[in-house]
Symmetry: C2
Subunit: 356 residues, 2 copies
């Protein structure tokens, strides 16, 4: 027969278990459990006794034990590639909000764009038996072993912003091609002819889409594509800096930088080289932040709906977790052009006013 008492601690106190509550209230664990999960069907008398005991002992259910017994943890794992990129905290925040509303907790992991770290975290999440995973994939594909792992564990996955070759799963993304097209079209409308591109890693789906949008817009506007005006970065500051050093000497009159961190690096390079935005070159950047409106040059950006991305990812994932759906689903959210000054818009207005 099992001991009905909880392990005592060194000082004789102990964390009370459901048994302790049961003993205190002179009922069985079943009754206690029923009260805790208010399943109903418990007489008012007993329920009152149980509640009193819970308060008296300061009882708090052990979620580990519950998860073990119920075979679900009410936890979702979330792996992002760069928590230091302000793009992600905004998404994480939304995800957390949404998860919390449905009684789930988010276990956040930062893969730092390293496949190896990602692999470790994936294993960790499975070992912790998370109910589902939101994955912002590092460049590259999942190994067959990993794919096996995921399908064996039957853990639903929602991809975030980046597809993963060979993995059929839900996907929440933005219409990156469209965003890039709008950016380039806007620059073209303002009379820019030689538009450079600072792209993301070619093995990241959204980077490819942004580049496609860039190319297509050039074509539609009858602008020539100059390969030497296109730079492949990695979405980090330093690659934007290198892009600036490489591209600016070639004298483009505009540039599309496909994320914020690279724009930061690019601007630093421009500073060092003594060329100015928007006078010497126009710039449109991806990702918008609250602080972009109050520093010079005010960046014209393609805003991506970060909050909605996070919220949607969680929504899709929970549909899967609670098996309200089985077929994979893709949600594509629309970006939005936010015109400010770095694109040279005001410049043109002023010139127009002067000439008029």
């Amino acid at each position: 027969m099992r001991s009905k008492t909880t392990r005592a601690r060194s000082d004789g106190s102990k964390v009370p278990s459901i048994y302790d509550v049961g003993r205190e209230a002179r009922v069985s664990v079943f009754t206690v459990s029923a009260v805790i999960n208010n399943k109903g069907g418990v007489s008012a008398t007993l329920a009152r006794r149980v509640e009193a005991a819970i308060r008296k002992l300061n009882y708090r259910p052990n979620l580990l034990a519950r998860s073990l017994a119920k075979q679900q943890t009410h936890t979702i794992g979330m792996i992002v590639t760069d928590i230091a990129n302000p793009f992600f905290p905004a998404i994480v925040r939304a995800a957390e909000d949404a998860a919390q509303k449905s009684g789930y907790t988010v276990l956040l992991c930062n893969s730092d764009d390293k496949q190896e770290k990602e692999a470790r975290y994936l294993e960790l999440l499975l070992s912790r038996r998370v109910d589902g995973i939101i994955l912002n994939k590092t460049p590259g594909k999942l190994s067959p072993v990993q794919r096996q792992m995921l399908s064996d564990a039957r853990v639903p996955v929602v991809l975030l912003m980046r597809t993963c070759p060979g993995l059929r799963a839900d996907l929440v993304q933005t219409d990156d091609k469209q965003g890039a097209m709008e950016a380039v079209s806007h620059l073209a409308r303002l009379g820019r002819k030689t538009i450079a591109l600072v792209g993301g890693p070619p093995d990241v789906s959204n980077a490819r889409a942004r580049k496609q949008g860039y190319l297509q817009a050039l074509q539609e506007r009858n602008l020539e594509y100059h390969q030497e005006l296109s730079f492949d970065g990695d979405y980090r500051i330093d690659s934007g800096y290198r892009a600036g050093l490489a591209l600016l000497p070639r004298g483009p009159d505009a540039v599309l930088v496909t994320n914020y961190l690279m724009t930061v690096g690019f601007m630093r390079a421009a500073d060092e080289m003594g060329v100015h935005c928007p006078e010497d070159f126009a710039l449109v950047s991806f990702d918008d932040y609250p602080w972009l409106g109050c520093f010079r040059p005010r960046l014209t950006t393609i805003e991506l709906p970060k909050y909605e991305l996070g919220a949607t990812a969680v929504r899709l994932l929970l549909e899967l977790v609670e098996s309200k759906r089985t077929r994979a689903k893709t949600v594509t959210l629309q970006p939005q052009l936010r015109v400010r000054e770095s694109c040279g818009f005001m410049l043109r207005s002023i010139k127009a006013a002067v000439t008029a």
Copy 2:
């Protein structure tokens, strides 16, 4: 006698348990466990058989069960007040790195500066039996019930950046008074006389410290304190904006804004009012970010060592968790003045050059 097989799933497959591995390798669970946790003392033959079985079944230990049995989760909870404030992701990242190195995972919670959310998360973390908590406290104190909870659960707590009245616990903070003093002294040295303050919530310890530093520096520099030049914000953008609207019309020749988000709001207000930094007013801000060097005005800031904050918090917490220490400890990290242009430094140099 207990069944030694794992619950089958609908399709007949199942997530293998330690028993399945044992059966496959024709050994007992003890042996399997010993191998997994490489405790040694297992003959090479059996060890090999076990390892083969593990690979064959694709076995992965269930961390829930392990945590339940060992009474420790290798998880640390972390509650921050505003994950959307870029200050925190940097700290979180450091904390995660440090935790991971020691085999711990971080469960991140965002209290959004709301006591109620914080309370819920605190309970959640205890229910999940985290081994320790890093707490960036919302304004206000912990209720007696909460304090009781924490001490009952014997969960060590490390406070981050903010003290908590009535709670004796470890604390990792920055020398905020010193930082504010340096900022104000710097402004004074540049000849500024009427220096305004945009402070944080008066019930947040670091906000009080920053204000103290401001006051003391004024005194040391023989500058008068004008109460109407001091504004209490809440570390969010909007309060900075309101501060700008309130303070700028009073014509200070300088301002110390005690965090980045409020600076963003403040600059927005200045923009709208058509006053310029540093020509019309000098500004020093708390918190430095990589992008501050490449937009105008380049902000002069008090940099807080974010990475070190996160790493130190985890280090202290793990000392407590692994009971290598019992006495509470406070670590105070030094901030650093980063002179750029918003303080009017260049302005003065130029003037000097011209007059010379």
